[in-house]
């Protein structure tokens, strides 16, 4: 008799689930690989550890952590509740507020030409969009995939939750993985497109930017971008609000909370729940492979477009702009800017491009938020 009970118990374990849905086994292995990359290789661990752990938890058979809320007396799974913050578009803008509070737009204000480079690097987004369309994705899906090339995790997640929730997991994983790979993807492209002389160009010291300019800047950007492209208002607005908290001089405590406890809390919830959307059914598909392929194209084209425009600007300015700073326009703050610095310093150890690359770098954040607004406007 007891034997029946034990049999029933064994029947309820997750092991049976793994046999019946072997896709879950693969997903669990995928989550382990991501954890390995995050912890051993340092791939964007702040996001990839929660994402991978969410993926692990959501693929444990019968644990039901993504079960929807069924009303009073029938609560949902923990990760489903967290996921509401993604589905309603609440978490990514809060992360953007924290990013704004961490960002100094001074180098961009000192050298506003950098905005052009931040725009050029979004070329990767739209090239990838065409690629995705040709590979059979819908416009909504193609737009979300393209944004991977914007190299902004929250933007990609914000857009994918709205336009292509089924691809959310794959897009988030691709976006953060490629951001971690920026130091590997970009340098060969940068070297291929520039001459040694160009890479050795030293740029003039940036002027200092006054407090007043830094305060007016976020308000101005919010107003202009949101009027031109209303769907971009949420992301740009919150980014700039965070920056205003930083610069106003009176809201230090709000700025510190936005860039510490608040962004950390939201990162945990967002990461876990985004990872949890990667069920075997959603993730182990041909689409995911296409996304992985398109993602690297997006980064490469964006990098190239930035460098090429920087080359042109260098010609027009009479040799004053080092084309290596163009690649920083893809955003991935501050990694892409550091790559510009490292590649530049290899040619000329006394060359310090970092501050110059920060201009295009933060411009790239604005640029990809604009591009995301454009996608929402067309496909939302």
């Amino acid at each position: 008799m007891m034997i029946h009970t034990i049999t029933k118990f064994l029947y309820d374990t997750g092991f049976r689930g793994l046999f019946e849905q072997p896709g879950n086994i693969i997903m669990i292995i995928v989550s382990f690989v991501l954890l390995y990359l995050a912890i051993k290789k340092g791939f964007e661990p702040l996001l990839l550890i929660p994402i991978a752990f969410g993926m692990l938890l959501a693929n444990l058979p019968f644990a039901d952590l993504m079960k929807p809320h069924g009303g009073h007396g029938d609560p949902g799974g923990l990760l489903w509740y967290f996921f509401q913050g993604d589905e309603f578009g609440i978490f990514p803008p809060i992360i953007f507020m924290g990013v704004g509070a961490m960002t100094d737009f001074g180098p961009l204000i000192a050298n506003p030409k950098a905005l052009l480079l931040g725009a050029a690097a979004q070329f990767g987004i739209f090239t990838t969009f065409i690629g995705a369309i040709l590979l059979g994705f819908t416009g909504q899906e193609a737009g979300s995939i393209g944004i991977i090339g914007g190299a902004d995790g929250p933007t990609a997640i914000f857009l994918a939750s709205k336009l292509a929730p089924n691809l959310l997991g794959a897009i988030a994983v691709a976006a953060y993985s490629y951001m971690a790979l920026v130091p590997i993807i970009q340098p060969p492209i940068m070297k291929f497109l520039t001459t040694k002389e160009e890479r050795m160009i030293k740029m003039d010291q940036l002027r200092t930017v006054s407090k007043t300019e830094k305060i007016i800047f976020p308000i101005m950007v919010t107003l202009v971008v949101s009027l031109m492209l209303p769907p971009a208002a949420t992301l740009i607005g919150m980014l700039m609000l965070g920056n205003l908290f930083r610069e106003s001089g009176f809201t230090k405590r709000l700025s510190e909370t936005a860039q510490n406890s608040l962004i950390n809390i939201v990162t945990i919830f967002l990461g876990l729940s985004v990872g949890a959307t990667a069920s075997a059914k959603n993730f182990l598909t041909e689409e995911t492979l296409k996304i992985v392929f398109l993602g690297v194209v997006a980064f490469a084209v964006g990098t190239a477009a930035g460098v090429i425009l920087a080359k042109i600007m260098n010609k027009l300015s009479g040799g004053k702009i080092n084309p290596l700073i163009g690649s920083a326009g893809v955003s991935a703050v501050p990694m892409a800017a550091r790559v510009s610095q490292v590649v530049g310093q290899k040619e000329n150890p006394s060359n310090f491009l970092l501050m110059h690359a920060m201009g295009p770098n933060v411009a790239g954040v604005i640029g990809s938020a604009v591009a995301a607004g454009m996608m929402l406007s067309l496909f939302g």
Binding site: I109, P112, K113, L115, L116, G118, A119, Q122, F123, I125, F126, T127, F129, I130, I133, L134, T138, G139, Q140, E141, A142, S210, T212, E213, I216, F217, M220, V221, V224, V225, M228, L229, G249, K252, A363, I366, G367, V370, A371, M374, M375, L378, F379
Partner: protein, 140 residues
Amino acid sequence: MDNLILLEKFANPELIHSLSLGDKLVASLNVMILGMGVTFIALVILWGLIVLMCKMLKSQEKEIKIQQEVSVEDSIIKDPTIDGVENEEELVAVITGAIAATLRTSTHNIVVKNIKRITDPTPTWARAGRMEQMNSKIFH
């Protein structure tokens, strides 16, 4: 096909698969041109506005600076918390220097971030209360 109708079909996930590859390509190129166009225009406008802002501020700079200083001084008198912030930074600078001297390293590398005045956790009046007691010893 008219561009708008094409884009409309293109934007509809139900209808997009009815489009030919050529139509899709045309629509995609449309999206790219529009997208890159808007992105460039938006950022170029921002460029122009930053330049404008810079020029306007420069022309008023000296005047504003004087006004600012005066108004800051006013507010210091009215609101001790403001000078609190200023002084805290000074204090940190002093302490940073002291520790750096001990360690013989540059002050650029360390910040004693958390040496705070008592005012920070308690409301300002608590400090004032303590000041009162101290001062009363002086005055009486």
